[in-house]
Amino acid sequence: MQKDSNENPELKKTNLWNDANFRAMLFQVVAILAVFGFIGYIVNNALTNMEQRGIVTGFGFLTDQAGFGIVQTLIEYTETDSYGRTFIVGLLNTVLVSFLGIILATLLGFLIGVGRLSSNWLISKLSSLYIEIFRNIPLLLQIFFWYFAVLRALPPPKQSFDLGAGAFLNIRGFFLPKPIFEDGFSWVIGAIILAIAAVIYLVKSNKRRQLDTGIYKPVLLPSLAILFIIPALVFFVVGQPLSWDYPALRGFNFQGGLSIIPELMALLVALTIYTAAFIAEVVRSGIEAVSDGQSEAADALGLSNGQRLRLIVIPQALRVIIPPLTNQYLNLTKNSSLATAIGYPDLVSVFSGTTLNQTGQAIEIIFMTMGVYLTLSLLTSSLMNWYNRRVALVER
């Protein structure tokens, strides 16, 4: 059809509407106009509305003094710092809870996912019970449950649970001794790096030998030995450059040491338990996706159980697991914004909460917040895409 209209100039005019290219053009122009028109309309409305009502706009507020306190800050922060700094503080708190949540949820999720496939009937049923319960209850409810029902049952500071080794648990949080690194600890760090390098070398040379000669020597025990002994030796040689800051009950609460606030605990527990249920399903389906023939072939080659898992099943399962796992990580990061419901000072709570309220600049602040999550998720997915390409099956 398209060819016809091109060849016959007389038809061209009358059948313009039938020209696929022209139609495509037209649609796109209309779409662009509609979208930009709509955006223009919105921006225009917002600007007129704000001007009419005397609302201040712009990002100047970021340098103004904030004047409010934040309960948990990873960087130095005082009330006299700027609103811009509250943004960073909130962002870091979000990153912290997401990072810890991802690690814990992955561990628990793999455990449950493998348990789901266990030959042990009871374990498999318990795992699927776990998955079915926690997957089907809203996360916000779980957060409330842990925070308002469970953690509220902890004792006040004066009757704290003494967990031994200087650790205490009470309604104000979980208090741990904090390591203080003294001069000379850099030697120990150096030794750890050295030990890691040595282990990598050991594993690599072992692999080369195996490829060359076929002789396989176990490397796990020697590696562990290197990892522990070298840093430990250095640690004692330079005179134990490490001391502990123990939390102590002073005044209203424990002071000093490392404290984990209950808001963080509740959020972390809820995020971990909820996301682990999803990760378990991802893991299960990933492992099930590796065909039985692969395991049978591994058995036929005489590989041991561990080798079969490590060399045959897991690498293939990972290929299936990675993309949905990425999605779960992103979900966890986004879900961490529910922190605002229990007062954990994450980005949404501090910046789109308190800062927004003190400055009243909703549009700027909401868009900055959305921008952060958008960037985080685009970053993660591009990282995972890169990894995915690396492990993808090379078809020959």
Binding site: I32, V35, Q52, L122, N136, P138, F144, F145, F148, V348
Partner: protein, 365 residues
Amino acid sequence: MGKVHVPKPSLPPPSNSIGAIAWAKKHLFSTPLNSVLTIIGMYLVVTMGYWTINWAFINADWVGDSREACTSSGACWVFVSARFNQFIYGFYPESEIWRVNLMFAIFTVLLLALVIEKTPKKPWIAAFTLVVFPIIAFFLLYGDAFGLERVETHKWGGLMLTLVLAVVGIVASLPIGVLLALGRRSNMPIIKNLCVVYIEFWRGVPLITVLFMASVMLPLFMHAGAETDKLIRAMIGIVLFQAAYMAEVVRGGLQAIPKGQFEAADALGLNYPKTMGLIILPQALKLMTPGIVNTFIALFKDTSLVLIIGLFDLLAIVQSALADPKWLGYSVEGYVFVAFMFWIFCFGMSKYSQHLEKKLNTGHR
């Protein structure tokens, strides 16, 4: 006559390879590690099960209308039963509750008709559910027509509001999702990119920021004087957000349609709308049903976030009841009740979606 050889009946298998013992041996105690795990698991099941049953049933109080009725050591379900109506209907006027019930009844009948496999004229019922039913439901709930008294949306709450939000979210986002998915697969670069940007934007941000935007910023974006209800704005936010997820489900469905179908449609000389409307979408929609049900489950759980913008859904209304000085200290009961309600819905739907998946799988492979 030779002697006929009559074989003796075979011996029964050894007693340790049949029956419960053999089963247990194979499934619970096959290796030492498994035995240890089984014992730990059994211990957990027995202690926790015992405690739970004791707390929730045996030692629980069920009847009464104030906290004085709760005398035993277990759960105080009186808290839930005393406020049950509020948890289900919110602040909906008592004399008008029959309207909500009628709406639920119609919805249940329609759903049953759709779920049961042998119902005749399913497509028509589906169309009715998606197009006509929302209108009926709106007039039933909101009123202000046909002699029904108007019930302002700020009186809506509880389970009813949760269901309304979830159903509206899914029904309204489906057509937008289909358009977005078609756009994303389109050959026109600008359309395609616009759709990709839309989808990735909404999928990249948390629902809570979307709700916040919808709740407090949407009116700034609109014409001065244009007024919308808080509930409507929350719905707009949810639909915009959900459409992006729906688009990805639809895209999955479209991708599952073999290329031959497109080519066959081209060969028949069908144009794009006809190809999509008559050949591709009917098949794809069938394939998508499990995916749609799954996003519905996710949305159903996510509706609980509206409590952060001050709407009283099931979770929010229970949460606020917990602050009542007359009922302090029964938060566990409240949360367990909400969890149970959500769980019933979500679990039921996920089972249905798994069943569908199985059915569709056999048909296609």
